[in-house]
Subunit: 345 residues, 2 copies
């Protein structure tokens, strides 16, 4: 066997010099290199933005969606939606492990794993699509995939449903980053606290800030505020308009004795909310942007414009042990488990 590049550049067909994710086409040859893992795939969990686009393009016709997926993978060697650029995750069983990795990793042939790198860079060969569940963006297939040496994955836990684990792992970066970021006694504002990543971040922030910490969750209306209050993840819930930064600032100050917060966390999925994340944070504080709708320039120029000395962090979907941290959070919080079970399994 040959040794491949740690990041998989040996499989890039075009353009030359590219990494597998931005590449147009990669090789999905199932003969593995010395430092690759071969996976017998059970199903793909297509990224929500991608699946929505596929459904719309196909007018909801399942056969058309199937054909489109087959075409994309045939053309690119990976399931990367050409319109959205996004991928998703997969679940499967380890079929082979390259010689160079055998003694370095904690995997055995037959282990059931979820990949934690995007499908947008994962070599994939589909033999047949068996079924599509449009409610949870899941595509059951017969096929194989390749993991590079830098590829991250997690064994699926035996104490919860695969679907529950997947729902959590899908946003694993968020609660794991919050765990590292939030310190005891911190005051934290979570914007978009009622969505999946918002709930997980709130739950983790509460735990990390401890009994002298103060977690403020933002909801957009009465109904969602009630739901959020019911979880107990926040010390206070505010109803405020994220499109109106001064409204967010005022409502935050009201519940926090007139003080700005130490940390704000953006779990919203809409654009133009950078200033709503920046204004309520005190000088020396931190703004954490998880939302993919964040604009780099709006954040950079916005903070300068109001003279805010805050550290602004780009949400990294990966951090060490993020899968374990997320699964443990699901094990710890019965309420979180129940909410995710109801919505995603």
């Amino acid at each position: 066997m040959k040794r491949g590049n740690r990041y998989g550049t040996h499989r890039v067909i075009a353009p030359a010099g590219s990494l597998p994710q931005p590449a147009q086409k990669i090789s999905n040859d199932i003969t593995i290199y010395d430092n690759e893992i071969l996976i017998d795939v059970d199903y793909l969990n297509i990224d929500s933005a991608s699946f929505t686009q596929l459904k719309e393009e196909a007018g909801g016709d399942l056969e058309k969606i199937k054909n489109k997926i087959m075409d994309i993978v045939q053309e690119r060697g990976k399931m990367q939606n050409p319109v959205t650029g996004s991928g998703g995750m997969l679940i499967g069983k380890v079929e082979a492990i390259g010689e160079a990795l055998k003694d370095k990793i904690d995997l055995n042939i037959g282990d059931k794993i979820a990949t934690l790198v995007s499908l947008s860079l994962t070599p994939l060969k589909i033999e047949r699509i068996l079924n599509i569940n449009t409610d949870i963006d899941r595509v059951e297939i017969k096929g194989k995939a390749i993991l590079f040496e830098s590829g991250i994955y997690t064994k699926l836990p035996e104490d919860m449903k695969d679907t529950l684990a997947l729902a959590g792992l899908d946003v694993a970066g968020a609660p794991a980053q919050v765990m590292k970021l939030v310190k005891p006694e911190n005051t934290v504002l979570i914007l978009g606290a009622t969505g999946k990543s918002g709930l997980m971040c709130s739950c983790m922030a509460k735990k990390m800030a401890g009994k002298n910490g103060f977690i403020i969750g933002q909801a957009r209306n009465e109904r969602r505020a009630k739901f959020l209050e019911g979880t107990g993840f926040c010390n206070k819930v505010i109803i405020a308009d994220v499109q109106n930064p001064l409204n967010i600032l005022e409502e935050t100050l009201k519940v926090n004795s007139g003080k700005e917060v130490d940390i704000s966390i953006n779990c919203l999925s809409i654009p133009n909310v950078e200033m709503s994340c920046i204004l309520p944070v005190k000088d020396g504080g931190t703004v954490y942007f998880f939302s993919m709708a964040t604009s780099f320039t709006k954040a950079a120029l916005g903070a300068e414009g109001v003279g805010k000395d805050v550290t602004m962090i780009i949400g990294n979907g990966y951090t060490k042990n993020h899968a374990q941290i997320t699964l443990d959070l699901l094990r710890e919080s019965k309420i979180l488990r129940e909410i995710l079970n109801e919505k995603y399994t």
Copy 2:
């Protein structure tokens, strides 16, 4: 006098609820509020992206540029280029200080200051344009501007030319952030080390990392590498292609005993270089993006795709004492002073 909003929202005309920067139109009435400062403006330093656009649109015709500037300020109440969205800075003398600020700030009537908030949010009224210097994007005017309570500024130093001070202050956030970020013994990679902010960041990084630190500067060709070596700001200079992340990684490893760096700093002005900034950094390290051409999603998905546990920071143009820090750096480094003097004064 009335008390205005700290961030200047009392002057926003449209759209309602907006902050002054994203606003379409703000009031440039020169009657100040209780917490505002009135400035008698000497000249505007138009942001480079904006000035380039104005020159191109006018086909280089000075009269047309003048008219365009007058039109923009008439229409918006501020000098914000409608195409680029950017502004610039201004220099002028303090003409009046609102009652509520008088005892709180270290300014006196007549002090010569540079504003450190963008012209894109600064109320401005131009009576007449006196002169335009297209080489250094400077517009001499007769007019007035307003600073909000949150507005930042610096008194111009008496020991250096205004033009030298301005050239440095223009990118003041960068070296000041590097001062806070880089610790003794750090290994730092500066991408785009030969440009203005790159040189200032290299100079500051060298100082902060100390004699056991290691600064690597990236240049794009032999000629620029020679120039950078001549400054003494870097321990090693590499010639590598920022569009090719693996090339950047390899050249960095070559000069750093095969090890990844602690911190990388993006001082480039071109897009699609996120992976070149991320790949050479070790797990637990930091990537600092100063470039306004940075894509939030490319950075976020890129780091996840290669499983890099790095902290990615959005360059904030403001941090406490950034003007002072930058002017002091110019005072300390004769070489830096000479380079900036030659290019910008």
